[in-house]
């Protein structure tokens, strides 16, 4: 399912003395099956953009086209439930949405609301708990009896259980320890690959954006200023600096290495593994050519 933002503007608290413009003229195309990372400084409008993707916010200017639905500023949109089922959203600190008596019921909450039959919902819950690396026993426990990391996983399962076509993630790993962070990001990537799930990730981690995304969008002062491939975006350090962002660590190390040795690596290394390989290669070649 393609999502298209067409010159979207959004203001909070319209028609009050506290009106606050959050987005201006944002155009962004999220192709079906892509993995898009949205990066930008704090307050640049990333979360506001995200909430347009499943019509939790409606643009005050411009239009958002989600699949075959069009949500236009000033036009009353009816029946947004379908959109919200197709576009699942994992908020920052999603464990805050847990409420039900047991983990099983909580995971089934979304699907049941959207009319999925009981057995099917339960089947999905069982499957997801396993997929997310949680022990089977948690299904019968109260979500409030779990550790922080487990709660986060259950909340994510609650969104995945609706079987969305698009998965929207707002800093899904904030506050987790390094292992938890890595496991969850890898899981999203796996889903993206295996199920062809269109994925949109808001993150402060340039490393994650570089590692996983095939399209990167930079937000700055409520505008979407650049979109492009990570290899191109993260190579342009000057531009990143203009938007108060730093390149990923791998890129910084690569530049450092290049400056010191005078060798030039091919392209730009977006993952640690790639960087190691490139450096090894360059050094080997450097030797040969002497």
């Amino acid at each position: 399912m393609d999502i298209l933002l067409r010159q979207v503007g959004y203001s909070y608290a319209v028609d009050t003395p506290f009106e606050k413009r959050a987005l201006t003229d944002v155009s962004l195309h999220i192709p079906s099956g892509s993995y898009t990372a949205i990066i930008g400084h704090t307050g640049s409008g990333k979360s506001t953009v995200l909430q347009h993707l499943n019509a939790l916010l409606k643009p005050t200017e411009g239009a958002v086209i989600i699949g075959d639905r069009k949500i236009e500023a000033g036009v009353k949109a009816k029946n947004l439930r379908d959109i919200r089922r197709q576009v699942g959203i994992v908020f920052q600190f999603p464990e805050q949405q847990l409420f039900d008596e047991t983990v099983l019921k909580d995971i089934m909450f979304g699907p049941l609301n959207y009319g999925v039959p009981e057995e099917e919902a339960s089947r999905r819950a069982h499957e997801l708990v396993e997929q997310l690396g949680l022990p089977k026993e948690v299904l019968g426990k109260s979500p409030f009896d779990l550790s922080g990391g487990q709660m986060r996983r259950v909340a994510i399962a609650g969104v995945l259980a609706m079987d969305p076509e698009v998965l929207v993630l707002d800093e899904p790993t904030a506050g987790l320890d390094p292992r938890g962070r890595r496991e969850i990001m890898d899981l999203f990537h796996q889903l993206h690959i295996q199920k062809g799930l269109t994925t949109v990730l808001v993150t402060h981690s340039m490393e994650d954006a570089a590692r996983y995304a095939d399209q990167v969008a930079i937000m700055h002062n409520g505008r979407c200023v650049v979109t492009g491939e990570p290899g191109v975006i993260f190579a342009d350090e000057e531009q990143l600096g203009d938007y108060r962002l730093e390149p990923p660590r791998t890129v910084r190390l690569q530049r450092h290495f290049e400056a010191r040795t005078g060798l030039k690596l091919d392209g730009i290394s977006l993952t640690e593994e790639a960087l190691a390989k490139n450096i090894a290669l360059a050094l080997a070649e450097g030797r040969d050519s002497e």
């Binding site: 409420f99 008596e101 109260s142 409030f144 009896d145």
Partner: protein, 178 residues
């Protein structure tokens, strides 16, 4: 709600903060959470402040019920243009919270009996309505005008009751109350 360390001071501090949170919860539910119902009174817009007040009084008893009702809703009046009503609200909602808590907690029930919880809320309704009626009668110097707000108050309270009971039941099942 057991805290790991339970010296006298820490229990009191926690209690104080819990009460502050209760005030904030009542305020926020009054301001932000509205349900529109297809009925005429109040234009159909019902806030969840009353429901929240019932829940708090039932879960935490008369003292917190009193403070959450009086301060939470009184504060709401103060900051949202109904300053003149604040004294009435403080009295009516404080008493309402107290009565609900008192009945729901009578005989060491501690809000554990659904029957008593419902009874508590029902008993508090005429009390709250009457205080508002008398208070507004003084402001307006009339016994007729304040009658206009009775239906709205009744709807508000009824919806509060209908919502509070399942919420209490659900909350009682969370580990915080075991």
């Amino acid at each position: 709600m057991q805290k790991a360390s339970s010296s006298y001071t820490s229990v009191r501090t926690y209690d104080l903060i819990l009460t502050s949170m209760a005030i904030a919860l009542v305020f926020v539910s009054t301001l932000l959470l509205n349900i529109r119902l297809p009925i005429a009174a109040n234009g159909g817009l019902v806030h969840l402040g009353t429901a929240m007040l019932f829940v708090i009084a039932i879960l935490f008893g008369p003292k917190k019920g009193l403070i959450a009702g009086a301060v939470g809703m009184g504060l709401f009046d103060l900051v949202s243009g109904w300053t003149l009503w604040a004294p009435i609200t403080i009295l009516a909602r404080g008493l309402q919270g107290y009565v609900v808590g008192k009945i729901a907690w009578s005989g060491s029930r501690k809000g554990g009996s659904t029957g008593f919880n419902i009874l508590a809320a029902i008993v508090s309704i005429p009390l709250m309505v009457a205080i508002y009626y008398v208070g507004e009668a003084i402001i307006f110097s009339s016994w007729i005008i304040p009658a206009a707000s009775i239906p709205g108050n009744l709807v508000q309270n009824t919806v509060g009751l209908i919502i509070a009971i399942p919420v209490v039941a659900a909350l009682k099942k969370t580990p915080f109350f075991k």
